[in-house]
Symmetry: C2
Subunit: 365 residues, 2 copies
């Protein structure tokens, strides 16, 4: 039988989103993600209405949903409710009694995620059986053919690991003095591209085994608009500026420069072509629906407020930074970051961004 894969999980474990309830916690700062989820509720509903096979609904009295990269809620709960509502509607529309249908929702994230926080904030009036599944989604998480619908919002850009070459000082891809690929040498970019391709292969391979034949996967993937260079893509701009703050602190002696050299953010924004290629190479899924949310980020007021943006980025990256640089630099780093974001406001506002909304269907074996 399959052995649960933990390798990538160990690597992923380096950067859980921040748990707890504090002002810079993920739950408080996930407004940005929630905006997207709300905007995309219609996408989920239509996907299920138009693309979900009735056969799947009729083959079992329980509909199994898995959310990959759930963090600590609450967006994950919101998505689960949207999916369940749409499935029940579809069920009823066929004249069936949805009272007989049960739902089980698996909330997945890396083992280092704060599952205690997630479990304690589960909605008390939820209409589903909840379970938490710890582990990297780049490996197997579920038994064969046990999930009817996979969902993932904003988690797929997180890679299984930093590409090894960018941390190797003997490699041409060594990413000295930077913490990200998009303002780096071509070799660094290639190393990230290759890691992403490998990750997507592992991701889709695992899901292809776990999902039922005909099952759907609904993903919201922040990506890179076609024709936009990496360095002009909005999230990348934001990471680049954070990298320059770290280098400022290194020059001041607050941070060890070698620690900056050996630190890279394991996040990659695919183009639509890269996404399509990954699905094609895997060969087990058809792309049933695709939409681009082009202007989502542009309308998000967070990008007009440097302080809010800084605190949001802090919430999502704090665990990662703490592990490499220690607790004590965080306040200084993110204060400087807020200032720099303000100075470079026009660069942030001109950053290009897109969120890919995709529905994949498992083709017959």
């Amino acid at each position: 039988m399959a052995r649960a894969e933990e390798t990538s999980d160990q690597l992923c474990a380096a950067y859980p989103v921040r748990g707890g309830d504090g002002p810079s916690s993920y739950a408080v700062n996930s407004v940005y993600q929630r905006g997207a989820v709300a905007a995309a509720k219609e996408f989920i509903s239509k996907a299920i209405e138009e693309k979900l096979d009735m056969e799947i609904l009729l083959s079992s009295k329980t509909f199994h949903i898995a959310d990959l990269g759930c963090a600590v809620g609450p967006n994950s709960f919101f998505s689960a409710e949207n999916i369940i509502e749409a499935v029940e509607l579809k069920y009823k529309s066929q004249g069936l009694n949805s009272q007989t249908l049960e739902f089980q929702v698996f909330f997945n994230d890396i083992t280092a995620n704060d599952f205690n926080k997630l479990f304690r904030s589960l909605p008390s009036n939820r209409q589903y059986y909840a379970a938490g599944v710890p582990g990297s989604f780049y490996g197997r998480l579920f038994p064969n053919a046990s999930i009817d619908l996979f969902h993932s919002a904003f988690a797929i850009p997180w890679m299984s690991q930093v590409p090894k070459a960018v941390m190797d000082r003997n490699s041409p891809a060594w990413n000295k003095g930077r913490i990200f690929y998009s303002d780096a040498s071509d070799e660094v970019v290639s190393a990230y591209e290759a890691q992403n391709a490998e990750d997507m292969e592992r991701f889709l391979h695992a899901r292809a085994q776990e999902i039922v034949s005909g099952g759907l996967m609904v993903f919201f993937i922040p990506g890179r608009p076609d024709g936009t260079p990496h360095s002009h893509t909005l999230p990348n701009v934001i990471y680049q500026i954070l990298g320059s703050c770290l280098m400022d602190l290194a020059r001041k002696g607050v941070v060890d420069e070698e620690k900056v050299d050996s630190f890279n953010i394991p996040n990659y924004l695919m183009s639509s072509k890269e996404l399509e290629n990954a699905v094609e190479r895997n060969g087990c899924f058809s792309i049933e629906r695709r939409e681009n949310l082009d202007h989502f980020f542009a309308h998000d007021t967070v990008y007009k407020s440097p302080q809010l943006l800084a605190s949001q980025i802090r919430a999502s990256l704090e665990g990662l930074f703490k592990q490499q640089f220690g607790d004590e630099i965080l306040d200084e780093l993110f204060e400087l970051y807020g200032k720099k974001l303000e100075e470079q406001q026009s660069m942030v506002e001109s950053g290009k961004a897109v969120v890919f909304l995709v529905v994949l269907r498992r083709t017959a074996n």
Copy 2:
């Protein structure tokens, strides 16, 4: 569809076992439970070899196991491995290839349990897909007919709540000056008995829906030996002495006496008759096998070491006591407890105890 029940969970949430890794944490102090699990490995193996229907094994490529009251491991992992080993053996004994069989293990405990600790200590070489399920086992936790085998070790005596009457100063069952039923008035004992009967009804009713037809439940339930009064039952003796320590602290003014009056340990030790009655009343299960481990506690060296025993009881009850009395009394309380256990060593050693090992099978609907 079913709504996940949380009421009893909220009440149960008052007394999670202690998480973390400290010297008085549950993981360190669960040697006592582990002894039983090891002693009972053979019971599990035989139960599966002799009582598990091959039909269940052949009906699905995944065998679903749920452990109720898993705490933070490691005994729960040990049990899961024993069960899987036995199921694979049975599968192979029929000439089948066990490589094609997958296992999913659901680890359940109340929402306040430290699931982070549990997840982080999952064996990395495990041969199963793991999931955590938060919530009280006195309510529904799983979809209909989704579990092939339930397991629970040492958790069932924990009640869904303290009987309301024992905390009501206007009730004849008000348990003033005590924290447990076994040294209390008949009214208090009756209130505990009634709560246990209600709990067992809810427990078996929920499991009867969740388990597949023909599925097995293997339980290890510390109980009260037939003919032994409540007050002579070993775990009860241990709780009574703890209660007397609390009253000593109340007399010294360290603890508010009213807080002792309103505090009761929600734990009840059934007799074999009470257990049989509960199964009979529920009507959905047959008792396939029953053994009594009479001498288990008697041979456990922990009962010969008052200090070790005190630290073990502290590990299992600390959460409960902290919530009612605050952190600051714990050291003094358990130091006094160690001393009193030493003084009353002969009373402890003469306490009677039994662990019921039972296998129940879901009869056809």
